[in-house]
Protein backbone atom coordinates (compact mmCIF):
# COMPACT_ATOMS: atom_id res chain seq x y z
CA UNK A 1 0.00 0.00 0.00
CA UNK A 2 1.31 3.36 -0.94
CA UNK A 3 1.82 5.75 1.96
CA UNK A 4 2.84 8.88 0.08
CA UNK A 5 1.85 9.32 -3.54
CA UNK A 6 2.69 11.99 -6.09
CA UNK A 7 0.33 11.64 -9.03
CA UNK A 8 1.33 13.56 -12.18
CA UNK A 9 2.47 16.55 -10.19
CA UNK A 10 3.63 19.66 -12.05
CA UNK A 11 4.62 22.99 -10.65
CA UNK A 12 5.08 26.41 -12.20
CA UNK A 13 6.63 29.46 -10.57
CA UNK A 14 4.88 32.59 -11.78
CA UNK A 15 6.19 36.11 -11.81
CA UNK A 16 5.16 39.28 -13.60
CA UNK A 17 7.70 38.75 -16.34
CA UNK A 18 6.87 35.10 -17.02
CA UNK A 19 6.89 31.64 -15.56
CA UNK A 20 9.26 28.75 -14.90
CA UNK A 21 8.12 25.18 -15.14
CA UNK A 22 9.96 23.70 -12.21
CA UNK A 23 8.32 20.24 -12.18
CA UNK A 24 6.81 18.30 -15.02
CA UNK A 25 4.59 15.30 -14.47
CA UNK A 26 6.26 13.79 -11.44
CA UNK A 27 4.77 10.51 -10.29
CA UNK A 28 6.15 8.44 -7.48
CA UNK A 29 4.87 6.37 -4.64
CA UNK A 30 6.50 5.53 -1.36
CA UNK A 31 5.54 2.84 1.13
CA UNK A 32 5.48 3.45 4.85
CA UNK A 33 8.94 3.16 6.39
CA UNK A 34 10.72 3.50 3.07
CA UNK A 35 13.70 5.73 2.57
CA UNK A 36 14.14 7.27 -0.85
CA UNK A 37 16.75 9.62 -2.23
CA UNK A 38 16.43 12.33 -4.89
CA UNK A 39 19.54 12.96 -6.91
CA UNK A 40 19.93 15.44 -9.71
CA UNK A 41 21.57 18.57 -11.06
CA UNK A 42 21.11 21.93 -9.40
CA UNK A 43 17.80 23.56 -10.30
CA UNK A 44 15.98 20.36 -11.25
CA UNK A 45 13.25 20.96 -8.68
CA UNK A 46 14.27 18.83 -5.73
CA UNK A 47 13.56 21.49 -3.13
CA UNK A 48 10.32 22.31 -4.93
CA UNK A 49 9.10 18.71 -4.53
CA UNK A 50 9.86 18.77 -0.82
CA UNK A 51 8.10 22.13 -0.32
CA UNK A 52 5.01 20.78 -2.04
CA UNK A 53 4.95 17.61 0.06
CA UNK A 54 5.47 19.70 3.20
CA UNK A 55 2.36 21.68 2.27
CA UNK A 56 4.20 24.98 2.08
CA UNK A 57 3.35 25.42 -1.60
CA UNK A 58 0.48 24.05 -3.64
CA UNK A 59 1.35 22.25 -6.87
CA UNK A 60 -0.15 23.79 -10.01
CA UNK A 61 -1.29 20.43 -11.35
CA UNK A 62 -1.62 16.85 -10.14
CA UNK A 63 -2.29 15.30 -6.75
CA UNK A 64 -0.22 14.68 -3.65
CA UNK A 65 -1.72 12.12 -1.31
CA UNK A 66 -0.59 11.11 2.14
CA UNK A 67 -2.46 8.00 3.29
CA UNK A 68 -5.05 8.72 0.59
CA UNK A 69 -5.69 12.23 1.89
CA UNK A 70 -4.46 15.49 0.41
CA UNK A 71 -1.67 17.19 2.33
CA UNK A 72 -3.92 19.95 3.66
CA UNK A 73 -6.48 17.41 4.94
CA UNK A 74 -3.97 15.05 6.48
CA UNK A 75 -3.08 15.66 10.09
CA UNK A 76 0.11 13.61 10.05
CA UNK A 77 3.13 15.59 11.13
CA UNK A 78 5.68 16.17 8.39
CA UNK A 79 9.22 17.17 9.31
CA UNK A 80 10.93 19.36 6.76
CA UNK A 81 14.57 20.29 7.08
CA UNK A 82 15.26 23.12 4.67
CA UNK A 83 18.35 23.38 2.52
CA UNK A 84 19.81 26.01 4.83
CA UNK A 85 19.40 25.71 8.56
CA UNK A 86 17.29 28.86 9.10
CA UNK A 87 17.76 28.82 12.83
CA UNK A 88 16.08 31.86 14.35
CA UNK A 89 18.95 34.12 15.39
CA UNK A 90 17.01 35.72 18.25
CA UNK A 91 16.22 32.37 19.89
CA UNK A 92 18.60 30.18 21.86
CA UNK A 93 19.41 26.72 20.51
CA UNK A 94 16.97 25.03 22.85
CA UNK A 95 14.22 27.51 21.96
CA UNK A 96 14.91 26.92 18.29
CA UNK A 97 14.53 23.19 18.84
CA UNK A 98 11.34 23.71 20.83
CA UNK A 99 9.75 25.72 18.03
CA UNK A 100 7.79 22.74 16.68
CA UNK A 101 6.20 21.82 20.03
CA UNK A 102 5.45 25.48 20.63
CA UNK A 103 3.59 25.82 17.32
CA UNK A 104 1.72 22.55 17.85
CA UNK A 105 1.06 23.43 21.51
CA UNK A 106 2.62 20.20 22.77
CA UNK A 107 5.14 22.17 24.76
CA UNK A 108 5.88 20.45 28.06
CA UNK A 109 8.65 19.45 30.43
CA UNK A 110 8.72 16.08 28.73
CA UNK A 111 9.29 17.49 25.24
CA UNK A 112 12.02 19.67 26.65
CA UNK A 113 13.73 16.61 28.12
CA UNK A 114 13.40 14.92 24.78
CA UNK A 115 14.93 17.94 23.07
CA UNK A 116 17.89 17.80 25.43
CA UNK A 117 18.29 14.07 24.79
CA UNK A 118 18.28 14.61 21.04
CA UNK A 119 20.76 17.48 21.32
CA UNK A 120 22.90 15.22 23.43
CA UNK A 121 22.78 12.56 20.75
CA UNK A 122 24.13 14.91 18.12
CA UNK A 123 26.74 16.13 20.59
CA UNK A 124 25.33 19.58 21.25
CA UNK A 125 23.77 19.54 24.70
CA UNK A 126 26.33 21.98 26.10
CA UNK A 127 25.36 24.74 23.66
CA UNK A 128 21.63 24.53 24.42
CA UNK A 129 21.57 28.05 25.83
CA UNK A 130 23.85 29.60 23.22
CA UNK A 131 22.62 31.61 20.26
CA UNK A 132 22.92 30.30 16.68
CA UNK A 133 25.44 33.00 15.73
CA UNK A 134 28.03 31.38 17.99
CA UNK A 135 27.76 27.97 16.28
CA UNK A 136 29.61 26.64 13.26
CA UNK A 137 27.76 25.70 10.07
CA UNK A 138 27.90 22.00 10.89
CA UNK A 139 26.63 22.53 14.41
CA UNK A 140 23.77 24.63 13.10
CA UNK A 141 22.83 21.91 10.65
CA UNK A 142 22.68 19.38 13.45
CA UNK A 143 20.44 21.70 15.46
CA UNK A 144 18.16 22.05 12.44
CA UNK A 145 18.02 18.25 12.21
CA UNK A 146 17.00 17.98 15.85
CA UNK A 147 14.39 20.70 15.32
CA UNK A 148 12.95 18.61 12.49
CA UNK A 149 12.88 15.40 14.55
CA UNK A 150 11.40 16.82 17.75
CA UNK A 151 7.75 16.67 16.69
CA UNK A 152 8.07 12.98 15.88
CA UNK A 153 6.99 13.39 12.26
CA UNK A 154 5.90 10.28 10.38
CA UNK A 155 7.33 11.70 7.18
CA UNK A 156 10.75 13.30 7.01
CA UNK A 157 11.91 15.53 4.19
CA UNK A 158 15.63 16.22 4.37
CA UNK A 159 17.11 18.75 1.94
CA UNK A 160 20.87 18.16 1.86
CA UNK A 161 20.99 17.69 5.62
CA UNK A 162 24.67 16.81 5.82
CA UNK A 163 26.14 19.24 3.29
CA UNK A 164 27.87 21.52 5.80
CA UNK A 165 29.52 18.76 7.81
CA UNK A 166 33.07 17.48 7.72
CA UNK A 167 33.38 13.99 6.32
CA UNK A 168 33.79 12.22 9.63
CA UNK A 169 30.87 13.91 11.36
CA UNK A 170 28.82 13.29 8.27
CA UNK A 171 29.46 9.54 8.32
CA UNK A 172 28.70 9.36 12.03
CA UNK A 173 25.52 11.36 11.67
CA UNK A 174 24.40 9.29 8.69
CA UNK A 175 24.66 6.20 10.87
CA UNK A 176 22.81 7.86 13.71
CA UNK A 177 19.99 9.21 11.55
CA UNK A 178 19.64 6.01 9.58
CA UNK A 179 19.35 3.99 12.76
CA UNK A 180 16.88 6.45 14.32
CA UNK A 181 14.68 6.40 11.24
CA UNK A 182 14.72 2.62 10.98
CA UNK A 183 13.84 2.05 14.63
CA UNK A 184 10.94 4.48 14.53
CA UNK A 185 9.82 3.29 11.10
CA UNK A 186 9.81 6.74 9.48
CA UNK A 187 9.17 7.45 5.85
CA UNK A 188 11.92 9.61 4.48
CA UNK A 189 12.84 11.57 1.37
CA UNK A 190 16.45 12.68 1.22
CA UNK A 191 17.78 15.22 -1.26
CA UNK A 192 21.49 15.04 -1.79
CA UNK A 193 24.29 15.66 -4.27
CA UNK A 194 26.38 12.89 -2.80
CA UNK A 195 25.88 9.59 -4.70
CA UNK A 196 27.55 7.62 -1.90
CA UNK A 197 25.18 9.07 0.67
CA UNK A 198 22.16 8.26 -1.46
CA UNK A 199 23.24 4.63 -1.83
CA UNK A 200 24.31 4.26 1.78
CA UNK A 201 21.07 5.55 3.27
CA UNK A 202 18.19 4.86 0.94
CA UNK A 203 16.14 1.98 -0.45
CA UNK A 204 15.52 3.63 -3.78
CA UNK A 205 17.18 6.41 -5.76
CA UNK A 206 15.34 8.71 -8.14
CA UNK A 207 17.57 10.43 -10.67
CA UNK A 208 16.08 13.71 -11.83
CA UNK A 209 16.35 15.69 -15.01
CA UNK A 210 16.30 19.47 -15.23
CA UNK A 211 14.35 21.89 -17.44
CA UNK A 212 11.70 20.99 -16.62
CA UNK A 213 12.27 18.84 -13.54
CA UNK A 214 11.22 15.27 -14.13
CA UNK A 215 12.21 11.79 -13.05
CA UNK A 216 14.73 10.29 -15.44
CA UNK A 217 15.51 6.95 -13.86
CA UNK A 218 14.92 4.92 -10.72
CA UNK A 219 17.51 2.67 -9.09
CA UNK A 220 16.64 0.07 -6.49
CA UNK A 221 19.35 -0.29 -3.89
CA UNK A 222 20.15 -4.04 -3.48
CA UNK A 223 18.57 -5.65 -0.43
CA UNK A 224 21.95 -6.58 1.04
CA UNK A 225 22.86 -2.92 1.32
CA UNK A 226 19.61 -1.70 2.83
CA UNK A 227 20.06 -3.42 6.15
CA UNK A 228 23.65 -2.33 6.72
CA UNK A 229 24.62 0.88 8.44
CA UNK A 230 25.63 3.63 5.98
CA UNK A 231 29.23 3.36 7.10
CA UNK A 232 29.43 -0.36 6.27
CA UNK A 233 27.48 0.00 3.02
CA UNK A 234 30.36 2.02 1.62
CA UNK A 235 32.65 -1.01 2.05
CA UNK A 236 30.23 -3.56 0.65
CA UNK A 237 31.32 -5.19 -2.66
CA UNK A 238 27.99 -4.33 -4.28
CA UNK A 239 28.33 -0.65 -3.36
CA UNK A 240 30.79 0.13 -6.13
CA UNK A 241 28.60 -1.61 -8.68
CA UNK A 242 25.56 0.55 -8.11
CA UNK A 243 27.71 3.64 -7.59
CA UNK A 244 29.09 3.20 -11.10
CA UNK A 245 25.62 2.78 -12.58
CA UNK A 246 24.31 5.94 -10.92
CA UNK A 247 27.44 7.82 -11.86
CA UNK A 248 27.08 6.77 -15.48
CA UNK A 249 23.48 7.94 -15.56
CA UNK A 250 24.30 11.35 -14.05
CA UNK A 251 27.31 11.70 -16.33
CA UNK A 252 25.15 11.01 -19.35
CA UNK A 253 22.75 13.72 -18.19
CA UNK A 254 25.57 16.19 -17.68
CA UNK A 255 26.93 15.51 -21.18
CA UNK A 256 23.49 15.82 -22.79
CA UNK A 257 23.04 19.08 -20.94
CA UNK A 258 26.42 20.25 -22.19
CA UNK A 259 25.66 19.22 -25.77
CA UNK A 260 22.40 21.17 -25.73
CA UNK A 261 24.24 24.36 -24.86
Amino acid sequence: MSFLTLDHVSHHYFSKSGYTKALDNISLSIKEGEFIALLGPSGCGKSTILSIIAGIMKQTAGKVLLQDKTISDSDLAIGYMLQQDYLFPWKTIIDNVMLGPKICKTNSVKTKEKAMDLLDEVGLCDVADAYPSSLSGGMRQRVALVRTLINDPKVLLLDEPFSALDYQTKLKLEDLVSQLLKTYYKTTILVTHDIGEAIAMSDRIYIMDANPGSIAKVFEVPLELRNETPFLVRRHPKYQLIFDKVWEELDKKAQEGGALK
Partner: protein, 268 residues
Protein backbone atom coordinates in the same frame (compact mmCIF):
# COMPACT_ATOMS: atom_id res chain seq x y z
CA UNK B 1 57.57 35.91 27.25
CA UNK B 2 55.38 36.15 24.19
CA UNK B 3 52.19 36.68 26.14
CA UNK B 4 53.91 39.53 27.95
CA UNK B 5 54.53 41.43 24.71
CA UNK B 6 50.97 40.66 23.60
CA UNK B 7 49.69 42.11 26.83
CA UNK B 8 51.95 45.08 26.37
CA UNK B 9 50.64 45.74 22.88
CA UNK B 10 47.10 45.53 24.16
CA UNK B 11 47.90 48.04 26.94
CA UNK B 12 49.37 50.38 24.35
CA UNK B 13 46.29 50.06 22.23
CA UNK B 14 44.07 50.82 25.18
CA UNK B 15 45.99 53.91 26.27
CA UNK B 16 45.98 55.10 22.66
CA UNK B 17 42.19 54.81 22.64
CA UNK B 18 41.93 56.70 25.92
CA UNK B 19 44.16 59.49 24.67
CA UNK B 20 42.10 59.87 21.49
CA UNK B 21 38.92 60.06 23.54
CA UNK B 22 40.43 62.76 25.74
CA UNK B 23 41.50 64.87 22.76
CA UNK B 24 38.04 64.70 21.23
CA UNK B 25 36.44 65.62 24.55
CA UNK B 26 38.74 68.62 25.05
CA UNK B 27 37.85 69.90 21.60
CA UNK B 28 34.16 69.50 22.27
CA UNK B 29 34.34 71.37 25.57
CA UNK B 30 36.44 74.17 24.14
CA UNK B 31 34.03 74.74 21.28
CA UNK B 32 31.15 75.01 23.74
CA UNK B 33 33.02 77.33 26.10
CA UNK B 34 34.30 79.61 23.36
CA UNK B 35 30.83 79.83 21.84
CA UNK B 36 29.30 80.87 25.15
CA UNK B 37 32.18 83.25 25.91
CA UNK B 38 31.99 84.84 22.48
CA UNK B 39 28.25 85.28 22.83
CA UNK B 40 28.62 86.85 26.26
CA UNK B 41 31.36 89.24 25.12
CA UNK B 42 29.56 90.15 21.91
CA UNK B 43 26.47 90.97 23.89
CA UNK B 44 28.36 92.96 26.56
CA UNK B 45 30.25 95.00 23.96
CA UNK B 46 27.13 95.57 21.83
CA UNK B 47 28.53 93.74 18.78
CA UNK B 48 25.08 92.19 18.69
CA UNK B 49 21.90 93.72 20.06
CA UNK B 50 21.53 92.30 23.61
CA UNK B 51 17.82 93.00 23.48
CA UNK B 52 17.40 90.56 20.58
CA UNK B 53 20.10 88.02 21.25
CA UNK B 54 20.23 88.22 25.02
CA UNK B 55 23.37 86.77 26.67
CA UNK B 56 24.33 83.51 28.37
CA UNK B 57 24.52 85.09 31.83
CA UNK B 58 21.03 86.56 31.52
CA UNK B 59 19.64 83.27 30.29
CA UNK B 60 21.20 81.33 33.16
CA UNK B 61 19.93 83.89 35.66
CA UNK B 62 16.44 83.71 34.26
CA UNK B 63 16.41 79.93 34.33
CA UNK B 64 17.61 79.88 37.94
CA UNK B 65 15.04 82.42 39.17
CA UNK B 66 12.20 80.81 37.23
CA UNK B 67 13.04 77.39 38.62
CA UNK B 68 13.50 78.99 42.04
CA UNK B 69 10.00 80.46 42.17
CA UNK B 70 8.55 77.27 40.68
CA UNK B 71 6.98 78.91 37.64
CA UNK B 72 9.21 77.08 35.17
CA UNK B 73 8.65 73.60 36.55
CA UNK B 74 5.02 73.36 35.41
CA UNK B 75 5.95 74.45 31.89
CA UNK B 76 8.70 71.84 31.67
CA UNK B 77 6.45 69.15 33.13
CA UNK B 78 3.65 69.88 30.70
CA UNK B 79 5.90 69.79 27.67
CA UNK B 80 7.70 66.62 28.76
CA UNK B 81 4.42 64.87 29.53
CA UNK B 82 3.00 65.77 26.12
CA UNK B 83 6.16 64.80 24.27
CA UNK B 84 6.56 61.41 25.94
CA UNK B 85 2.90 60.58 25.40
CA UNK B 86 2.93 61.75 21.78
CA UNK B 87 6.06 59.73 21.16
CA UNK B 88 4.64 56.56 22.69
CA UNK B 89 1.27 56.84 20.97
CA UNK B 90 2.85 57.60 17.60
CA UNK B 91 5.27 54.70 17.80
CA UNK B 92 2.88 52.09 19.15
CA UNK B 93 0.03 53.11 16.85
CA UNK B 94 2.42 53.01 13.88
CA UNK B 95 3.46 49.46 14.73
CA UNK B 96 -0.16 48.39 15.18
CA UNK B 97 -1.18 49.88 11.83
CA UNK B 98 1.80 48.23 10.13
CA UNK B 99 0.72 44.90 11.64
CA UNK B 100 -2.83 45.24 10.32
CA UNK B 101 -1.44 46.10 6.89
CA UNK B 102 0.70 42.96 7.03
CA UNK B 103 -2.26 40.81 8.06
CA UNK B 104 -3.93 41.41 4.72
CA UNK B 105 -1.94 41.94 1.56
CA UNK B 106 -5.00 43.22 -0.23
CA UNK B 107 -5.73 45.76 2.49
CA UNK B 108 -2.16 47.04 2.29
CA UNK B 109 -2.41 47.39 -1.48
CA UNK B 110 -5.64 49.33 -1.12
CA UNK B 111 -4.15 51.62 1.53
CA UNK B 112 -0.91 52.23 -0.33
CA UNK B 113 -1.76 55.50 -2.14
CA UNK B 114 -3.35 56.98 0.99
CA UNK B 115 -0.28 56.23 3.03
CA UNK B 116 1.94 57.80 0.42
CA UNK B 117 -0.14 60.99 0.42
CA UNK B 118 -0.31 61.16 4.20
CA UNK B 119 3.42 60.63 4.44
CA UNK B 120 4.19 63.37 1.90
CA UNK B 121 1.82 65.78 3.61
CA UNK B 122 3.41 68.20 6.12
CA UNK B 123 1.59 67.02 9.23
CA UNK B 124 1.91 70.30 11.15
CA UNK B 125 -0.32 71.86 8.49
CA UNK B 126 -3.12 69.78 9.99
CA UNK B 127 -2.73 71.73 13.24
CA UNK B 128 -5.74 74.04 12.85
CA UNK B 129 -8.00 71.16 11.86
CA UNK B 130 -6.90 69.11 14.85
CA UNK B 131 -7.61 72.05 17.14
CA UNK B 132 -11.05 72.54 15.64
CA UNK B 133 -11.78 68.84 16.07
CA UNK B 134 -10.24 68.19 19.48
CA UNK B 135 -10.32 71.52 21.24
CA UNK B 136 -7.54 73.61 22.65
CA UNK B 137 -6.42 71.27 25.45
CA UNK B 138 -3.63 68.75 25.88
CA UNK B 139 -5.43 66.35 23.60
CA UNK B 140 -4.77 68.42 20.48
CA UNK B 141 -1.12 68.91 21.31
CA UNK B 142 -0.51 65.24 22.06
CA UNK B 143 -2.29 64.35 18.81
CA UNK B 144 0.07 66.68 16.98
CA UNK B 145 3.03 64.93 18.59
CA UNK B 146 1.71 61.49 17.66
CA UNK B 147 0.45 62.21 14.16
CA UNK B 148 3.81 63.47 13.02
CA UNK B 149 5.53 60.14 13.73
CA UNK B 150 2.77 57.62 13.18
CA UNK B 151 2.79 57.46 9.37
CA UNK B 152 6.55 57.22 8.99
CA UNK B 153 6.64 54.52 11.68
CA UNK B 154 3.93 52.61 9.82
CA UNK B 155 5.84 52.77 6.54
CA UNK B 156 9.23 51.87 7.97
CA UNK B 157 7.94 48.98 10.08
CA UNK B 158 5.70 47.66 7.31
CA UNK B 159 8.52 47.57 4.79
CA UNK B 160 10.68 45.84 7.41
CA UNK B 161 7.93 43.22 7.82
CA UNK B 162 8.07 42.56 4.10
CA UNK B 163 11.82 42.16 4.04
CA UNK B 164 11.86 39.28 6.51
CA UNK B 165 13.35 36.19 4.88
CA UNK B 166 10.33 34.07 3.84
CA UNK B 167 12.25 30.91 4.73
CA UNK B 168 11.68 31.56 8.43
CA UNK B 169 7.97 31.39 7.67
CA UNK B 170 8.58 28.22 5.68
CA UNK B 171 10.11 26.57 8.74
CA UNK B 172 7.07 27.54 10.80
CA UNK B 173 4.58 26.52 8.13
CA UNK B 174 6.20 23.09 7.97
CA UNK B 175 5.12 22.72 11.60
CA UNK B 176 1.63 23.81 10.55
CA UNK B 177 1.82 27.34 11.93
CA UNK B 178 -1.03 29.78 11.33
CA UNK B 179 -0.41 33.22 9.87
CA UNK B 180 -0.69 34.74 13.33
CA UNK B 181 1.91 32.29 14.69
CA UNK B 182 4.22 33.15 11.79
CA UNK B 183 3.83 36.81 12.69
CA UNK B 184 4.46 36.25 16.38
CA UNK B 185 7.40 33.87 16.04
CA UNK B 186 9.20 35.14 12.93
CA UNK B 187 8.05 38.41 11.41
CA UNK B 188 7.69 40.50 14.55
CA UNK B 189 10.92 39.47 16.31
CA UNK B 190 12.89 39.67 13.06
CA UNK B 191 11.85 43.29 12.60
CA UNK B 192 12.44 44.28 16.19
CA UNK B 193 15.72 46.07 15.38
CA UNK B 194 13.94 48.12 12.71
CA UNK B 195 11.22 49.09 15.18
CA UNK B 196 13.77 50.11 17.74
CA UNK B 197 15.59 52.28 15.25
CA UNK B 198 12.37 54.18 14.56
CA UNK B 199 12.27 55.12 18.24
CA UNK B 200 15.20 57.52 17.89
CA UNK B 201 13.71 59.21 14.85
CA UNK B 202 10.36 59.51 16.58
CA UNK B 203 11.78 61.28 19.63
CA UNK B 204 12.90 64.14 17.41
CA UNK B 205 9.65 64.19 15.45
CA UNK B 206 7.50 64.24 18.57
CA UNK B 207 9.32 67.33 19.83
CA UNK B 208 8.51 69.09 16.55
CA UNK B 209 4.83 68.18 16.83
CA UNK B 210 4.53 69.21 20.47
CA UNK B 211 6.30 72.54 20.12
CA UNK B 212 4.26 73.49 17.06
CA UNK B 213 1.13 72.40 18.91
CA UNK B 214 2.03 74.62 21.83
CA UNK B 215 2.75 77.50 19.47
CA UNK B 216 -0.79 77.19 18.19
CA UNK B 217 -2.93 76.77 21.28
CA UNK B 218 -1.52 76.21 24.68
CA UNK B 219 -1.39 78.30 27.82
CA UNK B 220 1.50 76.27 29.21
CA UNK B 221 4.68 74.57 28.11
CA UNK B 222 8.02 75.54 26.63
CA UNK B 223 6.53 76.15 23.18
CA UNK B 224 4.06 78.55 24.76
CA UNK B 225 6.92 80.36 26.56
CA UNK B 226 8.71 80.87 23.24
CA UNK B 227 5.63 82.43 21.63
CA UNK B 228 4.85 84.44 24.77
CA UNK B 229 8.43 85.74 25.05
CA UNK B 230 8.31 86.69 21.39
CA UNK B 231 5.07 88.62 21.85
CA UNK B 232 6.26 90.60 24.90
CA UNK B 233 9.70 91.06 23.34
CA UNK B 234 11.46 89.13 26.10
CA UNK B 235 14.11 87.30 24.08
CA UNK B 236 15.90 86.09 27.15
CA UNK B 237 12.81 84.01 27.86
CA UNK B 238 12.76 82.72 24.29
CA UNK B 239 16.41 81.73 24.49
CA UNK B 240 16.01 80.17 27.93
CA UNK B 241 13.15 78.01 26.62
CA UNK B 242 15.25 76.98 23.65
CA UNK B 243 18.12 75.99 25.91
CA UNK B 244 15.78 73.93 28.08
CA UNK B 245 14.26 72.24 25.03
CA UNK B 246 17.73 71.37 23.77
CA UNK B 247 18.71 69.91 27.13
CA UNK B 248 15.56 67.84 27.60
CA UNK B 249 15.46 66.64 24.01
CA UNK B 250 19.06 65.47 24.36
CA UNK B 251 18.29 63.71 27.66
CA UNK B 252 15.27 61.98 26.13
CA UNK B 253 17.32 60.93 23.13
CA UNK B 254 19.97 59.45 25.41
CA UNK B 255 17.36 57.58 27.44
CA UNK B 256 15.87 56.12 24.26
CA UNK B 257 19.36 55.15 23.16
CA UNK B 258 19.86 53.33 26.47
CA UNK B 259 16.51 51.56 26.18
CA UNK B 260 17.44 50.61 22.64
CA UNK B 261 20.71 49.06 23.75
CA UNK B 262 18.97 47.22 26.55
CA UNK B 263 16.21 45.91 24.28
CA UNK B 264 18.66 44.72 21.67
CA UNK B 265 20.74 42.95 24.27
CA UNK B 266 17.77 41.22 25.83
CA UNK B 267 15.80 40.24 22.78
CA UNK B 268 18.25 39.41 20.02
Amino acid sequence: MESKTDQHLFENFKSELKREKKVVFIWQISILISFIALWEIASKLYWIDPLLFSSPSKIVNLIITKFGDGSMITHVQVTLFETVLGFLIGTILGIIIASTLWSSTRFSKIMDPYLVIMNAMPKVALGPIIIVALGTGYLSIITMGAIISVIITTLVVYSAFNEVDPNYEKVLKSFGATRWQCFKEAVFPATFPAMISTLKVNVGLSWVGIIVGEFLVSKQGLGYLIIYGFQVFDFTLVMASLVLIAIFAAIMYKIVERIEGWLIKHTI
